[in-house]
Symmetry: C2
Subunit: 216 residues, 2 copies
């Protein structure tokens, strides 16, 4: 019975890592759409999100079946509940990639992000994508050390977010109001993706060590 339980739990974590990789792809493609203005790539992210939603439903069903059939207690129970939270967070990260793709689609074939903000925005996107990529490995390997390291990256994200504000409120900003609003919202979406990545990593720490995760 307990053997079957841990087998099924492993399978849930493997599914979570898969979903995280799907989110990574969504973030990468959304950024590509944003920086190239390609509508087809934006569409791919928007229409592909249903796959992530379905994968989330499957994990939820498996986790609920596990709770129902095995009635885990203590650490095992907390692990299953943590998995349920992780899958919600991963799905939300996918939604945020869709928000990025929708801004790209709204401005296509033009670029939403004007030249002067492009480097900072590309860096935010790269940091977010890298965090998501590493979180997939962290879930797979239950790597506490790497999970702690993800929080450090989040500090760079905060710094980058402040940089975008400095740019768009500065005297040199020639992008106008529309681009400023796009950049502010895009910054918010990437920041939220990073926040969720940190939260998911925190839940891996919790699952492995039993220590409370950082509040999401």
């Amino acid at each position: 019975m307990r053997y079957a339980f841990h087998d099924q739990l492993d399978s849930i974590f493997s599914d979570l890592a898969d979903i995280c990789r799907q989110v990574e792809t969504a973030v990468r493609l959304a950024t590509e759409a944003l920086l190239t203005g390609r509508a087809d790539v934006a569409e791919q992210v928007i229409s592909g999100d249903v796959q992530i939603d379905r994968a989330r439903e499957r994990v939820e069903d498996t986790a609920l079946a596990l709770l129902s059939l095995q009635a885990p207690v203590a650490g095992d129970l907390r692990t299953v509940v943590a998995a349920l939270r992780m899958v919600s967070e991963l799905e939300r990260m996918g939604d945020l990639a869709v928000h990025v793709a929708k801004i790209a689609r709204l401005r296509t074939p033009n670029l939403a992000v004007p030249e002067q903000a492009r480097e900072t925005m590309a860096r935010m996107a790269a940091v977010a994508e890298d965090m998501v990529s590493r979180v997939a490995d962290i879930i797979d390997e239950r790597n506490v050390e790497q999970a702690e390291a993800v929080r450090k990256d989040d500090e760079e994200m905060d710094t980058l977010r402040r940089s975008t504000f400095t740019q768009l409120l500065g005297k040199e900003w020639t992008g106008g109001i529309e681009a400023a609003v796009d950049v502010a919202l895009l910054g918010r979406y990437y920041e939220r993706i990073a926040d969720h990545a940190v939260a998911v990593a925190g839940r891996v720490i919790f699952v492995v060590t039993g220590a409370a995760p950082a509040s999401s």
Copy 2:
């Protein structure tokens, strides 16, 4: 045993309704800070958020204890899991009220929202606060009919959000870039509060009828 279970479940839902009322207060005060520029009111929201976080922890502990000790199955299990999700969403709504309060504090004693956007923003805030208030009653009374009605309000929120964009991108906008960015982000925060309110209401529908809630 089952009697004790449903007693405890009722107590969890009563706690959820209480947290929802705390969120309602946070949204109301954050809006007051925003529309009056009062820093002390903004501070009250920001420092008060820890109460909501603590209340969330208590509900989580109770729900986990219930899962652990009573090992509910089927509908009961899904109800406890729904409660865990609801409390996460309520906490997040509190965080979003803090985001509104922080923008208010950043601009104090000035007002973040310029005259021309104030009416729309005040309306968004009123719709959000009203939705949160009704969701508290919906949780208390497990009122499916009212839960369905909350979704309708969300349509008004979407319309209002589009209005703010029309205003700040229109020729008449004299608020400049900083105010446009503030208004865009504030619109996003109120919209997300409304989204979460709809999601929580959807979970009440699920708990009562067993029908899948709207995706959050």
